[in-house]
């Protein structure tokens, strides 16, 4: 059985699966049960300043997007940071940490954007024995209206300033949690690094309206006839998160900055993908909210089976392994030619590939009167849409044309690696050559 233990910015945990700061980590009762179920660590639900706690709407607080069979694909929420008193949270954090020393416990913080507020909160959490802090610069609703959360996370100068205060007034490892509601994720990550952050975590939730009530003409979730935008999370946001993680991992200015990957992690495979793209560990919220704490057991068994199969001795062997293969479009091989190929033994004759290709792509699939579907190599551009819409796994595969063979579509011989930068149709390439 592979060793899943990880050390992330000096914080040790028995596995790389942490619960993200959110309702699952809002109190001692939850966190104890999460540890019992096997979670390697938690980021406690975001704490605010001393004083009267924030007030939530009663509810509904969530909107949802369902897939087939009411599978939860995405949830959006309009909850704020913890609405429980600071002292209660601190007492509970201390009590849990005392009993679960081998698990990671990080405290998420969000206080007003002034030095005294940060100095004060850091002093108050000092003796909890928590392993680190995470700065919530991501919450896109409610708190942002008060100049916190994503209102800070959208201004790199603020991120840098606050991070610097935190590093100045605390010895704890510091993770800066980023909002995806910006145009270029590298800028806030660079700011966090300049401020002295030990790591970044991403993504927080995406600004969203999940649906509209067509009788009351109000966005959902609807509170007494009105709605507001919320934060979107769950499997639907994973592609957005993966790209942002990869951008930070491969950018020269932030390369090597530890990353905690968040956004739609639902199975061991999602976690492994985040890690391959450079995340040292992952955080999970929606999968736990959908299926309960037990999902971590599948994540643990799945990741260890995968690592055993690959011969990875530790998670470090996996982290970042895909980063060198993330490149710019202009460097992709224009001479790489493949053709779709339909396995007739696996084909169930649904015809979805035919509809997709015939109506919307390249008319490269032939259909016989007795519903046999075959690829026309002379038309197939290898877009792989047919493979994507096929309901049977591995029924359609992409076959690579070996170098030296003739592509029946273009009539040209498959040649060596060549990319856009030197392609004759590229005006910039011509300019460079002249």
């Amino acid at each position: 059985m592979a060793d899943l233990s990880t050390t992330f910015i000096g914080i040790r945990s028995p596995n790389p699966f942490w619960l993200a700061s959110a309702p699952p980590t809002d109190k001692e009762y939850n966190v104890r049960r999460a540890y019992e179920a096997g979670w390697g660590g938690v980021v406690w639900k975001t704490l605010g300043s001393e004083g009267p706690p924030v007030v939530n709407v009663n509810g509904p607080r969530y909107g949802v997007i369902h897939g087939a069979d009411r599978r939860v694909l995405g949830i959006n929420n309009i909850e704020l940071i913890t609405d429980r008193p600071l002292e209660v949270n601190l007492r509970e954090i201390k009590s849990v940490k005392r009993d679960w020393k081998d698990r990671a416990l990080v405290i998420s913080l969000m206080v007003p954007c002034d030095e005294d507020s940060w100095k004060d909160i850091l002093r108050r959490i000092e003796d909890t024995e928590a392993d680190g802090v995470e700065l919530n610069f991501g919450c896109p609703h409610g708190m942002a209206e008060r100049g916190m959360g994503s209102a800070v996370g959208q201004v790199p100068e603020y991120i840098e300033m606050v991070t610097r205060w935190v590093k100045q007034y605390s010895r704890m490892p510091c993770i800066v949690k980023l909002t995806p509601n910006i145009t270029d994720i590298r800028k806030p990550a660079e700011a966090a690094k300049r401020g002295g952050a030990d790591a970044v975590s991403l993504i927080n939730t995406v600004n969203s309206i999940t649906s509209v009530d067509l009788d009351n003409f109000a966005p959902e979730p609807t509170i007494d006839g009105k709605g507001t935008h919320g934060g979107y999370c769950g499997p639907a946001v994973k592609p957005i998160a993966l790209n942002m993680v990869a951008e930070i991992a491969r950018s020269a200015a932030t390369r090597g900055l530890p990353i905690s990957g968040i956004g739609g992690v639902t199975t061991w495979r999602d976690a492994a993908e985040f890690m391959a793209l450079g995340a040292g560990n992952v955080q999970v919220c929606t999968a736990a909210m959908t299926y309960g704490f037990k999902v971590v057991q599948e994540m643990i068994s799945g990741l260890s089976q995968y690592m055993d199969e690959k011969g990875f001795a530790s998670t470090a062997d996996l982290v970042g392994r895909a980063v060198p293969n993330v490149t710019d479009w202009q460097f992709l091989n224009l001479n790489y030619v493949t053709k779709a190929q339909i396995n007739q033994d696996l084909c169930i004759s649904c015809g979805r590939c035919y509809a997709a290709c015939e109506d919307t792509s390249h008319q490269a699939i032939a259909m016989s009167p007795d519903r046999v579907f075959t690829v026309k190599d002379e038309e197939c551009v290898a877009c792989n849409l047919c493979l994507d819409v096929c309901p049977v796994e591995n029924c359609i595969t992409m076959r690579e044309l070996p170098k030296g063979t003739v592509d029946p579509r273009t009539g040209t011989v498959v040649g060596d690696y060549a990319n856009w930068t030197t392609h004759p149709n590229n005006p910039a390439a011509k300019a460079a050559a002249e």
Partner: protein
């Protein structure tokens, strides 16, 4: 010249060779990866799932299905084997309609459960086929335990004890291990000698010494076992069969169904097995159904199950009853056997069920029979030196250093999966008693 279904008497080779191959092939072929994925996707990952509660071995079903759905069937197999080392056989023989699948919330939702049994087989088959044992033994404890009976209860107990580091000696009366897995389960449920393959794989844990043809009460005494071991687990199953107690029962064409099935299981070439043209099976349980269906598959022309009470009281499940009916077996209920005539026919008297039990009606009928199989229940064959509590040994701990489980022990239904659960639990109890 081959015989035909119409030939009278008890004869072999009623069918063409290809018919035997088809009839005794896997009656529920394994899921392929695509079917498994579709089936796994239907699981809701229920909290505190009712299927887990319904499984006598409490397998974490939603977890193993999720492990299949996420492409890690070996992890799924480990989840299953942790609770049930006979997860492979149970996937084939459990009456899932009464157990896990009967409790699936999809039954409530649309009357069509997640195919838990088939998914369990999908997960467990490859690991067994590769001969890869998922567990290793704990450090040796120096304790020795004797297990009497090498059926699912005995072997589940032996495996768990070996895992905990104890040394186990299994005494099995027959020539082969397996109990009813080897001698009782219908052939088409576990073809390809799966029972022995599974046991070979199970024994790879190590630390289990097997003594076949070694029976308690024949040379081996309980006192000697207790003197030489730290604990003894009894899992001798039900070795006897109930009798009808009617005239003509001793005729040579009247047999216990379990003996017929055992012979069938041990005969590789089914064409060599003689079977009657007219077969009558008396009883209403799983054994009656298995004897009747397999008679039909051997080429018997007329096979009739006769049960003394109403159909709703039959212990064979609806699925099993339907299986018999689809195989072409005739079912007669509310008929009590009264005599087996010299010409072989069985005479029955109709009964009606009333408030005070069933009443005979005085109306009789006779069914011609070349062969009669009795399937009216098995009984404990008590070896010398043991005391029964009613029809069975006690449940679990019998006192002192003696435990019992499986069919021979009180409590639970007489099913493979229950035997496994009781064997495993006895091992845990023995371990706790020995290690404190």
């Amino acid at each position: 010249m081959a015989s035909t279904p119409y030939a009278s008497g008890v004869v072999a080779g009623r069918l063409a060779p290809s018919d035997y191959a088809a009839n005794f092939a896997d009656h529920a072929p394994p899921l392929d990866p695509h079917e498994a994925r579709v089936a796994a996707d239907r699981c809701y990952f229920c909290h505190d799932a009712p299927c887990i509660t319904a499984c006598p071995t409490s397998i974490d079903i939603p977890l193993f299905i999720r492990q299949i759905a996420t492409g890690t069937p070996d992890a799924a197999a480990r989840t299953i084997f942790q609770q049930n080392i006979f997860g492979g056989m149970c996937a084939r023989v459990c009456p899932t309609e009464n157990l896990c699948e009967g409790a699936c919330v999809r039954m409530e939702a649309e009357g069509n459960p997640v195919e838990i049994g088939a998914l369990q087989r999908f997960a467990t088959d490859p690991m067994i086929a590769r001969g890869e044992h998922p567990f290793t033994r704990a450090a040796a404890t120096g304790k020795r335990v004797a297990v009497v009976g090498g059926g699912p209860a005995g072997l589940a107990c032996a495996h768990r004890l070996a895992m905990k580091g104890h040394e186990v000696i299994v005494h099995e009366a027959r020539e082969k291990l397996g109990g009813l897995n080897e001698y009782g389960i219908a052939s088409y449920k576990a073809p390809g000698d799966f029972a022995q393959a599974e046991i070979d794989w199970l024994l790879r844990i190590g630390g289990i010494t097997v003594r076949t043809a070694s029976a308690l009460g024949r040379g081996v005494t309980l006192d000697a076992l207790l003197a030489e071991h730290d604990a003894v687990f009894l899992a001798i199953g039900l070795g006897g069969a109930n009798a009808l107690g009617i005239p003509g029962e001793d005729a040579p064409h009247v047999q216990n169904a379990v003996d017929f099935i055992a012979r069938l299981r041990q005969t590789a070439d089914k064409a060599a097995l003689p079977i009657g043209r007219d077969v009558v099976v008396i009883g209403g349980g799983m054994t009656a159904v298995d004897a009747a269906v397999q008679s039909k598959l051997l080429g018997a022309l007329n096979v009739t199950i006769v049960y003394r009470r109403g159909q709703d009281r039959m212990s064979a499940s609806d699925v099993e009853q339907n299986h018999a009916l689809t195989a072409g077996v005739r079912l007669i209920t509310n008929a009590v056997p009264v005599e087996i005539r010299a010409d072989g026919a069985v005479v029955f008297e109709y009964s009606v069920e009333g408030g005070s039990g069933s009443q005979r009606t005085g109306q009789t009928f006779a069914l011609p029979a070349d062969q009669v199989f009795k399937a009216i229940g098995q009984t404990l064959a008590l070896p010398a030196g043991l005391m029964a509590e009613g029809r069975k040994l006690g449940a679990g701990h019998l006192g002192g250093r003696l435990w019992a489980g499986g069919d021979c022990a009180a409590g639970g239904e007489d099913l493979t999966v229950t035997a496994v659960a009781e064997g495993r639990d006895a091992a845990e109890a023995i371990h706790a008693a020995l290690i404190g």
